[in-house]
């Protein structure tokens, strides 16, 4: 997955009610900037091929 610009306002508006978060107008620009950075990071992560049987790192030990 390569990074593609996306509508961060739409993502915030859709997710905030689900999480019962109140997003103040003055916080929005910082959140959008950080979401953009995170999506670029996710694109880098997705460039590494992972097999279906790749185990995640944390293993619960009963």
């Amino acid at each position: 997955m390569a990074y593609k610009p996306f509508d961060a306002d739409a993502l915030i508006d859709a997710s905030a009610p689900l999480l019962q978060l109140r997003i103040a107008p003055e916080h929005r620009a910082g959140i959008k900037l950080n979401l953009k950075t995170a999506s670029k990071m996710a694109a880098l992560v997705e460039q590494v091929k992972l097999e279906d049987d790749a185990e995640p790192a944390p293993v619960y030990r009963p």
């Binding site: 999480l19 978060l21 997003i23 910082g30 880098l44 992560v45 992972l50 790749a54 995640p56």
Partner: protein, 465 residues
């Protein structure tokens, strides 16, 4: 004792009855009183407790009872460690409303059991989500080598206190580089042990997958003494390994014949300034081989995502109830973290396992890997951008590019301070080993220190008192 006295020197003098622990502690308290307003290192000074503990140590010496290997050594801890009867603020305004801690963090107890004397709690970036050492509530910790420059974070006060000669030892936490970055900027030795080596019990968490605790010092021997004092299983930390303690201090001088040391290339060679410092260390160790950590950039990205998501989940209730009480720099990242897709986080955890497997294979051919701790020397406090590889980039987001891939998979690292000829500021190098081989990291660090390649002086202006 002078500000520059090492923990080992203090302990030897106290154990031998040449100096009273009370005198050592009183001198350290006087230095804190004088210099802390400049350094912004301490946020809480536990003077009464320290004097009581010092008297206890002096009583043991008088009675010929072993006062411990760190007898009378002053130390202090990042303010996310619980200290009995002190509120654990974790760099925040919000947590100041919590009741005082009912008991000490495990590592505080272990340091005191070894005879060390706790002097207080140290400044840090809010909730440890920080690479700068700046804090909107308490003010910044200041770099003792240049007071207008960053200490690095988030264990900024821990580095300022040791480089400023207030104490010879401090404890910090390292989730993404938060011991190694301040050690780099403030010219100190720091140890980020293997993930799961030291107990995190009763320290305020941030990212359970990545949180580590460890010491700062001005000598490798002091680092090893503190590390040894803190080892041992503690069932109160579910992530801790049951591995038996493996003491290092007595073996520091053991020769390490045939040790294979390589320099991390490719991704880790992206800063010419940092490479000059790595080169000095590599030359001294005759390390000519280069190894490539595959997918290091993706590993750093995955650490970024896990940090954002786990940190956000930890603080969700506070983000709902009182977002305006956070540091704005922290808040906006945490709020963004609440809405990251779960698939990104799950994939990042899978990448962590795969990256670990790839990097561990490198240790079939080498015993240690060298990489820079930071891409640059300490920026100015408040500086927002800097040049990285000829491009102007945000400072805050890029200080951990070389540390994040390493803590992501929990490898042990000794951060060593390197000064180039004629330079006023240091830059650190990571000495990285395979899991559980802190002994290799520390022995190489000791070799570099003995050869004069690495040094961690008390900053000028704070030294001769």
């Amino acid at each position: 004792m002078k500000a520059s006295a090492s923990a080992a020197q203090i302990a030897e003098a106290v154990r031998g009855g040449k100096v009273k622990a009370r005198a050592v502690v009183e001198a350290a308290l006087a230095r804190i009183d004088r210099h802390n307003p400049m350094l912004g290192a301490f946020t809480e000074i536990t003077a009464a407790r320290a004097l009581d503990q010092a008297d206890l140590i002096d009583g043991k010496v008088a009675n010929a009872t072993d006062p411990g290997p760190l007898a009378g050594v002053p130390f202090a801890v990042k303010n996310l460690f619980d200290i009995k009867d002190v509120v654990t603020r974790a760099g925040s305004q919000i947590n100041r409303e919590n009741p005082p801690a009912g008991r000490d963090a495990t590592l505080v107890s272990r340091m005191e059991a070894a005879g060390a004397v706790l002097l207080g709690a140290l400044n840090m970036g809010e909730y440890a989500y920080d690479f700068t050492g700046e804090n909107v509530h308490d003010g910044p910790s200041r770099n003792p080598h240049a007071l207008d420059r960053m200490t690095g974070g988030s264990s900024g006060g821990s580095a300022a206190a040791v480089a400023g000669g207030l104490v010879p030892l401090s404890l910090g936490s390292d989730t993404n580089g938060w011991i190694r970055v301040p050690a780099s900027f403030c010219g100190l030795f720091g140890l980020k042990p293997t993930y799961g080596r030291l107990s995190r019990a009763r320290s305020f968490p941030f990212v359970a997958s990545l949180d580590h605790l460890g010491p700062f010092a001005r000598s490798v021997r002091d680092l090893a003494l503190a590390y040894d004092a803190m080892q041992g299983f503690d069932e109160a930390d579910p992530a801790q390994s049951k591995r038996a303690p493996e003491p290092t201090a007595a073996r520091l001088k053991n020769p390490v014949p045939g040790l294979r040391i390589a320099v991390a290339g490719d991704y880790f060679a992206g800063s010419a300034e940092a490479q000059a410092h790595v080169g000095k260390v590599a030359k001294a160790l005759e390390a000519t081989k280069t190894v490539i950590l595959p997918d290091a950039q993706a590993a750093r990205a995955a650490a970024f995502i896990i940090t954002m998501a786990e940190g956000a989940a930890l603080h969700l209730e506070r983000l709902r109830a009182r977002p305006d009480d956070f540091d704005p720099e922290t808040r906006d990242r945490l709020l963004a973290g609440t809405i990251l897709p779960a698939a990104w986080v799950a994939r990042s955890q899978k990448l962590r396992r795969v990256f670990r497997d790839k990097v561990l294979r490198l240790f079939d051919g080498v015993d240690a890997i060298l990489a820079p701790s930071t891409p640059m020397k300490a920026p100015l406090i408040g500086q927002k951008t800097a040049m990285f590889g000829g491009v102007e980039m945000p400072v805050r987001a890029n200080l951990g590019i070389f540390t994040q891939p390493i803590s992501f998979i929990g490898l042990p690292v000794a951060a060593v301070p390197v000064w180039l000829d004629g330079e006023d500021l240091p830059l650190g190098v990571q000495v990285i080993a395979a899991p559980w081989r802190e002994d290799i990291c520390l022995r190489i660090a000791h070799q570099l220190e003995a050869a004069g390649v690495c040094r961690a002086p008390v900053a000028k202006g704070f030294a001769e008192e």
